[in-house]
Symmetry: C2
Subunit: 143 residues, 2 copies
DNA sequence: ATACAAGTTAAAGTTAACTTTAAGTCAAGG
DNA sequence: CCTTGACTTAAAGTTAACTTTAACTTGTAT
């Protein structure tokens, strides 16, 4: 089974131009051409899938490319790739942790506004939310 | 207690220029000035904290600003703010869910490379990872 | 045969979120 | 008095990740 760039783009929910861009960045190795046109095969979805979850964790394209390049080199890079995967796994764990903390803040705000709406004014809950600068402010991530 | 822009920047782990930028975007309402210089007070950390977790969930600055603007209008916007918070809470839940799926992929890859390294070659596990295009590829998020 | 839809490239344009630069103000120390 | 360091603004520059454009080719339908 083969697929046109449009078909793959639709499956992946991106624009064809995005796939061309990924290809030009070296993220889609080994995609066949027929008359200059990209023809996607089942094996290409292996990479598309990898691309998919690597992008979801906000891995920069340059880093994804280096992983792809390692994979292209074959068995001699197994350890390096393993190390990269482990590192990214830790990053995902950290991201999940951060988001869970944020979730708590939103749940708190949900309660806060529920109470405020009940009372018709924020004054009723404002005192509860006063924060000490040092204790409650954790770091804003650089990006 | 008051703080200079540099002190706050250090606490928040951002550049002073970033705080000026946030201020210029309307994200830091009510910061005092003395001789034209920003002087942060404890009450300002309430907003910095909100800014902090809103940025962590990748809420765009424009959307944060509209929340800040609603808050500035007072009690008449309580319901609107509640709705925004609820919406964002759902978004965070979705993000956590996505990341958990990604985590599984990385854990799988961890196992994959562990086996491959043991065997000295990927061939041993390659067949396990063949994917059907439709079943295993879920959508790449637009951004 | 011819028009049209879908593909191609290279290069320029876009957007968000900062960051840097240039030119200036101000308070404190020597 | 003068220098230094930390602040100020407005405006220009940066970066990543696309997206659009322009000019062109190709396969399919009428």
């Amino acid at each position: 089974m083969t697929y046109s760039i449009k078909e793959v783009a639709d499956m992946m929910n991106v624009e064809p131009s995005t796939l061309r861009y990924y290809d030009s960045m070296g993220l889609l190795p080994g995609v066949k051409r027929v008359n200059g046109r990209r023809v996607f095969e089942d094996k290409d979805f292996k990479w598309l899938r990898v691309l998919n979850y690597m992008k979801k964790i906000n891995m920069p394209i340059d880093k994804i490319r280096s992983y792809v390049e390692l994979a292209e080199k074959g068995d001699s890079t197994l350890q390096e790739r393993f190390d990269m995967i482990l590192e990214q796994k830790e990053i995902v764990l950290g991201q999940i942790d951060e988001l869970k903390k944020c979730l708590k803040e939103f749940e708190y705000k949900e309660w806060y506004y529920t109470e405020a709406i009940k009372a018709g004014t924020e004054k009723v809950v404002e005192n509860v939310t006063s924060c000490s600068p040092t204790l409650e402010v954790d770091t804003i991530p650089k990006n």
